[in-house]
């Protein structure tokens, strides 16, 4: 177990300055959102699923560096996965991909996961 760093990793800063898959899919298979009630940060994830796989995953985040980086990297981690695998993604996967987040910023990773799971659930409901 590595200790949480005090500063943002280069990977997190790279996602801040070059967010991946920022945006909203106009006609998505599913849409989900999550909010961090303590600070008001929010993330919305839209995704398309074809043949059981996530083809396109996009995010919108109103929030801090950690919130943006978490959602941005999560779109990369989730794209191409089967829906059943995507639902297994955990905050720890985001932290690993980003090389960690400052300790008090770890809830930001949870918010991104919450939005993704919401979108996956929405897609299941819509698919019937």
């Amino acid at each position: 177990m590595t200790e949480a760093p005090d500063l943002y990793s280069d990977a997190a800063l790279d996602h801040l300055t070059r967010p991946r898959n920022a945006g909203t899919i106009p006609d998505p298979s599913g849409i989900g959102s999550d909010t961090n009630p303590s600070c008001g940060d929010r993330t919305v994830i839209t995704l398309t699923i074809a043949d059981g796989r996530l083809r396109d995953v996009r995010f919108r985040t109103f929030g801090c560096t950690a919130a943006i980086a978490s959602a941005s990297v999560l779109t990369e981690l989730a794209t191409g996965l089967e829906a059943d695998a995507a639902v297994q993604l955990m905050p720890a996967d985001i932290l690993r991909a980003l090389g960690g987040l400052p300790e008090r910023k770890e809830p930001c990773a949870l918010m991104a996961i919450g939005a993704l799971r919401g979108a996956l659930l929405d897609a299941r409901v819509r698919a019937g």
Binding site: Y8, L13, L16, T17, P19, A22, G23, T24, S38, C39, G40, D41, V44, F59, R60, T61, F62, G63, C64, T65, A66, A67, I68, S72, R104, K105
Partner: protein, 388 residues
Amino acid sequence: MRRVYLDHAATTPVDPEVADLMAQVLREVSGNPSSIYAEGRQARALVDRARDEVAQAIGADPAEIVFTSGGTEADNLALRGVLKAREGEADGIVTTAIEHHAILDTALDLEAHGQARVTVLPVDRDGRVSAQAVARSIDERTAIVSVMHGNNEVGTLQPVLEIGAICRERGVAFHSDAVQTVGALAIDVRTMPIDLLSVNAHKFYGPKGVGALFIRRGTRVSTVQTGGGQEKGRRTGTENVSGIVGLGAALRIAASRRAVESARQAELRDRLIREIRSRIPDATLTGHPTDRLPNSASFCFSGTQGEALVVSLDLEGFSVSSGSACTSGNTDPSHVLLALGLDRDLAQGSLRLTLGRDTTGADIDALLAALPPIVARLRAASGATVSA
């Protein structure tokens, strides 16, 4: 990468002349100012000279200057010391919603311990308190009114002359936290009806950890800490000789440069405000549009979050700050921004740019080039829709 420091309201670099003087004192002056032999007298002379310098800069008598460990202690001494001196006769504190935590939290702490009744007055959209509201809040048991001179977050200047005149008429002590204005604006307690005034060296190119409280002769203030009785019993503890020397020298230098320097910074600030408004759609200036600290430009950008603004600008070489969530582990937008009546989301996207002696026109140009794309990128990520 060249760094551009635009956070002078947080702290300022120590003036090289001040640093040299302090180093010399640390090396060469070993005495305790309370000792009566030669080394002590040498230290005492330096402390006295610094007291003269501080007094002269604000129009006070040297006997009215008490050295402290900084602005926070000066604020604490003002509120706690006046309340203690008036114990049994008066217990009311009247203050505003946009004071520094050193005032607000001290007032609330006194209230929580049953030592004060606190009235916190609201401010208008520009961050100004109404002098009439102060007048209405004073009653026969009000001990002190505390209204800051210039706000650290949004730059607004308060009508301290008007408020001071009201307090004087009503026989209530008037304290002003002037840590953002001493050295930047003309302050003369001979003409300003202020009874207690907080000063902080590191806001005007002096060292951190040293400040002063002006206590007008006749204003009753009891000591807050007990001990050896230094500073005529008003602030006990062996004097921070090198720090006090640094404070005095820094204020002398700041006073001599003030007229030219504050006008220069105000011009750069005006350009900064004008250009940010013209280059960034939906930029909300916070604080009073004109009656503000000469070095302060503060904004909120809808659809952005302050921490992400600060981190993004840091990556491009700019040191700035935000009163918004997550910058200091605190998750709420600053009490100042909320007191202005800003919507919580808008208050999240706050950015404070405070100029200093070292700020050049080229620095402003560089910031003006860097900021708009950062705001646009964060807005794109948040999906903010912006009305141009």
